[in-house]
């Protein structure tokens, strides 16, 4: 058994609220999770479940109020700016919105060179690395001289992936990286993630609201519901034959792209909901 690369234990995150002496609102109520080297862990849940907040806490972008985050056997729960810069070599991010995550005023080359230059890579070396990165994500070599707006959503997301790969990190936090993309683009970008992982051995925490997407890319899957992880296990099991009632509801809710199967699933879902309602009524 390999030691986990990332270990999150009993993590609590709470945001302060506006107003005098109002208590902060807790988003995560003590979640635990681990990611092994070279593994993809999918994190699935609906809006407001806290899945994005968990990703942001690992990146140091959310206020942690309890629990611990360990990376490479070092505590990174609350590190200062200079440690965070060192950590930037190892933990990177791909955001959901390929339009908002690239500065519209910078050329692709400068966007990709930014993390390299921060780590003290020379101008020439950075330029060579940028060309290599563009090739890795399937963009033409001359893409570097252009601005983000000249690219489609899928291509921008490739740029964002290239930026995440620039420093050869050990872990990439992917926050809904394909949910803004068209169906056919989505499939290709997901395959790019898998291919990159096989080539570089990078681990990924893959946050998504879509069970099918998570199933496609993840070795293991965690399901979040209202700030708690309700189920965490092998991807093939969690996304097909889940234990927890909420995961089952989630699975049943997604319509199958096949009229006959969908009709069956719809009937099954209704029966399940009715049984649940009855169970609740009996409990009362």
């Amino acid at each position: 058994m390999t030691a986990p690369l990332l270990e999150v234990r009993d993590l609590r995150v709470a945001y302060p609220r506006k107003g005098f002496r109002r208590p902060p609102v807790e988003i995560l109520h003590g979640v635990s999770l681990d990611v092994r080297p070279g593994e993809t862990v999918g994190l699935v849940g609906e809006s407001g479940s806290g899945k994005t907040t968990l990703g942001r806490a690992i990146l140091g972008l959310a206020p942690v109020t309890g629990g611990a985050i360990r990376f490479d056997s070092a505590d990174i729960t609350s590190v200062d700016r200079s440690d965070r810069r060192r950590l930037a070599r190892d933990i990177q991010v791909v955001f959901q919105d390929p339009y908002g995550s690239l500065n519209p005023a910078l050329r692709i080359e400068d966007i990709l060179a930014e993390p390299l230059r921060v780590q003290g890579v020379g101008r020439e070396a950075a330029r060579a690395r940028v060309r290599e990165l563009l090739g890795q994500v399937g963009l033409p070599e001359d893409a570097g001289g252009r601005l983000p707006r000249e690219f489609s959503g899928g291509q921008r997301q490739r740029v964002a992936i290239a930026r995440a790969l620039a420093l050869q990190p050990k872990l990439i936090v992917c926050d809904e990286p394909v949910s803004a993309l068209d169906l056919s683009t989505q499939a290709r970008v997901l395959d790019l993630f898998i291919e990159i992982q096989e080539r570089t051995g990078v681990a990924m925490l893959f946050v998504s609201h879509d069970l099918a997407v998570v199933r496609h890319v993840s070795h293991r899957v965690a399901v979040m519901y209202r700030g708690d992880i309700v189920e965490f296990g092998r991807g093939a099991v969690v996304t097909a034959d889940p234990d927890h009632a909420y995961t089952r509801r989630l699975l049943m809710a997604a319509p199958v792209p096949n009229p006959a199967e969908q009709q069956a699933r719809r009937a099954e879902r209704r029966a399940m909901l009715e049984a649940e309602a009855q169970a609740r009524a009996e409990a009362v």
Binding site: D142, L190, A212, H216, A236
Partner: protein, 603 residues
Amino acid sequence: MTTPTTQALATARRRDRPSVFRAVLRNPLGAASLIVIALIVLISVLAPLIAPYDPAYVDITAANVPPGADGHLLGADASGRDVLSRLLVAGQLTLSGAAVTVVISVLLGVIVGLVSGYFGKTFDLVAGWISDLVLVLPSKIVLVALFAVIGPNTLVTMAVLGVMVAPQFYRLVRNLVMGVKNELYVDAARVSGLSDAAIIGKHVLFAVRAPIIIQAAFVAGIAVVIQAGLEFIGLGDPNTPTWGGMLQDAFLAMYTAPTMLLWPGLAIGLFVAACVLLGNAVRDALEGTDAALNVSAAPSTSTTAVRTVQKPVVIDDPADEDVLLRVDDLSVGYPDGDGGVKRVVESVSFSIRPGEVLGVVGESGSGKSQTAFAILGLLPSNGRVTGGRILFEGRELDPLTGARRLRGTRVAYIPQEPMSNLDPAYRIGAQLMEPLVVVSRLSRAAARERALSLLERVGIADPKRVFDSYPHEISGGMAQRVLIAGAIAGEPDLIIADEPTTALDVTVQAEILDILRDLQRERGMAMMLVTHNFGVVADLCDRVVVMQTGRVVEAGSVEAIFEAPQHPYTAMLLGSILDGGPARPDYEDDEHVSAPAEKEVAL
């Protein structure tokens, strides 16, 4: 592949990168005001060289001579000093005073605004208080009082004015920075380990620079006006010529030499107008003018109008008898800015029978929503139906307004973003009742009854509470139920739903789909369902139209499309679906650690 083709690359390179500076120059007003400002600055700098006289040289015999006399091109003032020379030299002090104001206010306002907006907290609070305090001080009175203390010192006075207008920059920059700092690219820079100073310098300052330039242009104009005003009431330096001081001299000699008022007035007016127009030109360049688009939108209207007259209103095709909506050869275009029309929907034809659910599927840019908007008469103001016909029950609809007149009674619309289609200022109940009272002519009590029963019908457990709620008090799924209740209120024959569940969580989506299906069956309504989700299609639709880049590539029954897609694009889309696909194989840990680069995972 998403890798662009060589052709796409070529067009991308050919297209000009619209830089703001170039856009300002291309705007005649912007170019003219830039030239005027540059000329005034240049002349002022060179004034000592080009002025025909020493501005202080007094020739008592020439007092108040009219323009052109005795070699005084613009005449001479009451003391016999050459007006032209004084006018030229006066620019120096006037403009440097304005420059001092601009530099001080920009430096102070922008730096404090950046820190305040980026870091917030106590600094922001205190800076806000000070800024408000300075804003409420009447600046002219402060400057007049200042004169009593320091005497006539134009540059110091203008520096104090700079401090007084700094809050304008402070507020502007602070608010812009608060918006920018939450952008994902700033988060990405933080994750990359950039220091705060580097993030501000590289990402934040870049986003706020243009509004600062606009504001600075306005402030320069205001500074010149205030300075002239102070000098006009005698609070200037009597030994150095300034435009305001010249105005004062001219005012005293207004009856003997009226033209003397003209020259400093013109200089001030010209410079201030140029500053304000330059500010406007920069703003227009940033916003991107759409005036050009609107001009060329007109021609397509006339062609469609002619078409309406030519075609008979009712067509006697026997197959049409049981068709509710027929779209025939429909094209929709937008002006492309070069005088041409960019077609987003091209020759699209399909029909919907009563009680039938038609799915219109495609990716972004396929024209599926544009088709729906054209039918509803909801195209954006510069979009036009450029060809084809839309028939409802065999009657041709006006291509300009589509089904606008049928909306609410025969045709209803369910939008993608439920929240933005509810007015935040009114309670849900009032918004549901209004069409019932106005269109269906129910009494208020009957409308209330009906609205409540509609809310109950769309699965809202506590209709009274929702009825009395404001839109911000309910969830997105609830808002979509409210809109569905509104859509069925007029008992329409056709519902056009544009991605009705895309913005919703999957569990909520399932509930909304249930409601739509039940209502559709129960009332025998036809539905046109625009979606990108094949699961939704499989759940609801009887027939499917597949669209790609504005054209219909395939149409057929839902079973036929899923089982035997004819067009390669349909097959590709179906092939991209992940639902029901294989899961990723289990993680094999040891291999990853030992040799990550060489490992091979069977997929």
